[in-house]
């Protein structure tokens, strides 16, 4: 598919709104360098962008359309967690930029969607060429991971307490 290319200026504007790149929003050269290594892709409704449990290496920024985020229960029932629209310019699958880890959720396109796609390899090259610009991005990812880890610890504690209460009766 060959989506209509969006103007470079518009592309930079979008990138400056992406949470992951917020540390670079005042450095137009950095955003320009990023936009050069990002491909534009288009998918039709129903396409699974990420699949929970499957390994992926791409980071997506939704620039038009709408996607839904799903998770699986322990009994493999799929349920909807959130709906994301292009207005939020959400970044999807940033963990894939660092390491080939299984995805933590499934994301399906609800309609015709356009994305800016960054893959791990190009991002690695970008980091090698511009380490100064890479630091704010990696920091952002680290902060996200710390937040998530904190939440996980609290969840484990909660489950622990619930289990204790259950056993105590």
């Amino acid at each position: 598919m060959s989506p209509d290319k969006i103007a470079t200026a518009a592309k930079l504007d979008i990138l400056s709104h992406v949470g992951l790149f917020s540390g670079l929003k005042d450095i137009p050269e950095a955003l320009a360098a990023l936009s050069n290594i990002m491909k534009q892709e288009e998918f039709s409704a129903g396409k699974a962008l990420l699949t929970e449990g499957e390994v992926g290496a791409d980071f997506y920024i939704l620039i038009s359309g709408q996607v839904s985020v799903y998770k699986k229960t322990t009994e493999s029932d799929l349920y909807k967690v959130a709906i994301l629209t292009d207005k939020m310019t959400p970044g999807l699958g940033e963990a894939g930029l660092i390491e080939a880890e299984p995805r933590s959720a499934t994301i399906l396109c609800d309609n015709q969607c356009q994305f800016l796609v960054l893959n791990r390899e190009s991002f690695g090259k970008f980091c090698d060429q511009h380490p100064v610009w890479a630091i704010p991005i990696l920091k952002k990812i680290a902060v996200q991971l710390i937040t998530r880890l904190g939440q996980s610890s609290r969840d484990v504690l909660l489950l622990h307490k619930a289990l204790m209460n259950e056993i105590r009766g």
């Binding site: 998770k71 229960t73 322990t74 009994e75 029932d77 349920y79 967690v81 969840d155 909660l158 489950l159 619930a162």
Partner: protein, 388 residues
Amino acid sequence: MKNPLLTALVFIVIVWFSTSFVVYYYEAAAKDHNIGSIEDAIWWGIVTLLTVGYGDKYPVTTEGRFYAGILMVSGVCGIAIVTAKVSSFFLERALRERRGFVDSNTLKNHFVICGWKEGMLNFLIHLLDSNPNIKDTDLVLVNAAPDNEIDKLHDIPRLKNVRVIRGDHFMEVNLRRCAPERAVKVLILADATPGPNGQKPTITEADARTIMTAMALNTMARGVPLTAEIIDSSMDQYLRLAHVNEIIYSREVSRLLLASATGGVGIANVYHELLSPQHSSFVGTKAIPKQFLGKKYSDLSAHFAANITDQTLIGILENAGNSHAAKDAALKRAQQTPNVAELVKNLQSVKALKFNNPIFNPEKDRVIEEGALAIVIEQRKEADSVAG
């Protein structure tokens, strides 16, 4: 050999031929013999063996007569065994048919009723009256009631095809014979069959039988809807442990009926009318159309008032039906959240769920959850009451 009939037949044939040959050996050598050939000897053998005794051939030597005696005695015994086996086979089959012998391999989608109580025959007729979709061929009873009671049951034309498994229903062996895992429903009655000492069971004994049966069925036929009658309502916790879906408190119901009839005017008549299949209106549960799940009770009552003329909505039955299935469904719903705090809360609420929980005239904005049924007062159609 396994088959005694075949054993007896083989024995007879061996004795017949061997004696015939021995007798021929001695007779043929005698001076004025009349058994002169093998054919003569075998013919004489069968005539003697079957105690026919034409007398056209007979042994004349001492040895021949001695062996003839052996043949006669073993013939009488052998024929007696064969006759007894054949007649008992036919007798047994006739008896089994009379008593409703059940081949458990063929049972499927049947309705099992465990135990026997006074007024059982009337109860069965009422059961068929109130549930037009149940036929007498669907009913399988398991009980140790006296034979003459079962004969009475089969003498009633409407109950002629009810099948009966003989034996105590609280014994696992007898329960297995009614194939409860393939049944649509199992009902355990407060059993009043006299015990081995000939005395009627006490209330505690009857309830203990019900609880034992429920526990056995819970492991044997997990997921099949189980209804149990209990006399002493304080024992119901054991039935809940055995995942009984519906508990019938028969003593408490009649006591409450008496008590409320004393208070209000005519209330006993109201209850009787609502329960009795002979009357035109009765209480029942109906499935709620899918589009009302998650909506408010007031939406459902508006739907009933506007569209359904022969049913009046009086409440909802929450988490209805089989508690295994309802629990599984509730668990599935409870897990559908990424938030662990919410997940824990949901799972705890599943644990506290009350199954088959009736709510009469609920507040208008009560949300109708999945698994609920509508409680209605239904007008029986003319055609149905004639058929019943």
